[in-house]
Amino acid sequence: MVSTVNMAVNLGGIQMRNPINTASGTFGNGMQFEGFYDVGTTLGAITCKGVAAEPWDGNPAPRLAELNGAAIMNSVGLQNPGVREFVERYGDYLQGLRDRGCAVICQVAGHSLREYERAMDLFEELAPFASGFEINISCPNIAAGGAAMGATPAGAAEVMRAIRPRTGRPVVVKMAPHDVAEIGRALEAEGADALSLINTIPGMAIDINTRRSRLARPTAGVSGPAIHAIAVRMVWECAQAVSIPLCGIGGVANWEDAAEMILAGATAVSVGTANLYDPTCAARVVEGLTAWATQQGVSEIGELVGAFEA
């Protein structure tokens, strides 16, 4: 069936041909998926791995454990080559994605306000291919910055205040899985164009024989289908608190999960962990979502955003 539904959405100024995006850190920089499907002509957007002004090594091994119950835990810790090297390596490819109609969201990481500013300035100068930026104030796997800076409305607002004057392009802020209404309001007040949520949920996995963590760090971030219901609830809470658009993230593994996010109030939806074990997942979610919208009898997918009835 050829769909007549307009699937295009606008995520705070980022034009997307359909609502499907990829969660930072679970999609490489897009090119790793070219063997599976044509990323540039299929997805609405991709969000790249978090990148800081200077290269970061990330955390020691092991960085990953599989949990019993459709979830994994990671403590990658934002291993990245720094903005300059990132642009050098992936700039041409990412410009190609733009040319093929896929939005490119570059993720900005930092340990301190100063570092966020520097990374933002470098991106602004060196990354003309970026449709917009996502500020990561919610990484649970780094010692300073990240989740610590985004943990309170005041801290999150401070980062947004520092970033806002540095770019005219759309700014999305990636939020941690707590206090999403309050922190969302603070970010909106400081000029965030959109919010994305949720980042991984901090957890622990203990090897009962060695009495040590199964990862190199004592705590790490839980993701995957197991966290989906929590993520949908947080998107719903946040959607009621703010009027800027949201990108729903958390355990999306099929089009039904994406449809739920949209009904809860997400304008865009990111596929995360599912990309890793089911590499064609995001492409199939686009197809399934389009069929669902058609079956729902709407003329544009936007009519379904927040259509959940409490």
Partner: protein
């Protein structure tokens, strides 16, 4: 060829030693698999376990599409994999990673395999035999079992298959002394190194064994390639979960920079 999704069908799945299984699968990607690369297998039947199981292969036959896997059952994924029966189908991602490299210098190669590290070493032997490069091998096992003997036979007959005098010595070491020499692969390796000249070493096995092998090779100035293992989220460079520490500082990704590395690059 970049990694992509392929169907496979199980042709046979047999227990060949305590907790060790030999599985033959048929897949269209067999012809593209290079020795030392790996495939990342989806094990169907349990939504609670989501990650794929990365496995090396001892042989990938491009002519008939058959790939031979040997795996140890260590957890949920491998246990359910062992329960797959002939005719069962699933998907795999491959080819994954970078395989063994041919030696840059002429001369014989020394292969050192430990335990479940044997399959990719058999693949390396096949590559060397095809290139007409001679090798000797040390195979370490916990105890002598039929599959180890079979794979050792495979190493010995490779030379005949390829019409060259490749494998001269294949030394078996067992922890329990049931067959071959009682002791470690590294001890047997030292003996061979004292008797013969080698241009390069290829090794796969437990981390500690590979560290020992790499150290001996380095001490003698012999180039050494190692096939590393890490917990993997994707197997194709998308998640940065599979880090291997480097001497130069920072990390490489086991799945896309490896799994085969120059031993001297790795911070053991």
């Amino acid at each position: 060829m970049s990694a992509t999704l392929h169907d496979f069908e199980v042709l046979a799945c047999k227990l060949v030693a305590e907790d060790i299984w030999h599985m033959s699968i048929h897949t269209e990607v067999a012809a593209a698999l290079q020795p030392g690369q790996f495939v990342n297998i989806h094990v169907p039947g349990d939504g609670a376990h989501i990650l794929r199981v990365p496995l090396s292969f001892s042989n990938a036959n491009g002519r008939n599409g058959i790939v031979d896997l040997y795996f140890a059952t260590v957890g949920e994924g491998t246990r359910r994999l062992a329960a797959m029966a002939p005719g069962d189908r699933s998907t795999l991602v491959g080819p994954c990673g970078n395989g063994w490299k041919l030696p840059t210098e002429g001369g014989r190669a020394l292969l050192v395999a430990g335990g479940i590290g044997l399959p990719p070493i058999v693949a390396a032997a096949r590559m060397l035999a095809t290139a007409g490069i001679g090798f000797d091998a040390v195979v370490g096992a916990h105890t002598a079992t039929k599959h180890v003997e079979d794979l050792i036979d495979c190493l010995r007959t490779l030379s005949k298959d390829e019409g060259c005098d490749c494998a001269r010595k294949v030394v078996l070491t067992t922890d329990d002394g049931t067959r071959g020499i009682a002791g470690f692969t590294t001890q047997a390796m030292e003996v061979l190194l004292a008797e013969n000249a080698y241009a390069c070493v290829y090794t796969c096995g437990r981390h500690a064994m590979m560290a020992g092998v790499a150290n001996i090779a380095k001490g003698r100035g012999i180039a050494c390639q190692v096939s590393m293992e890490a917990m993997m989220g994707c197997g194709f460079g998308a998640c940065s979960c599979c880090n291997v520490a480097l001497v130069s500082g920072g990390y490489a990704l086991c799945c896309s920079d490896g799994p085969v590395f120059d031993a001297e690059e790795v911070a053991w």
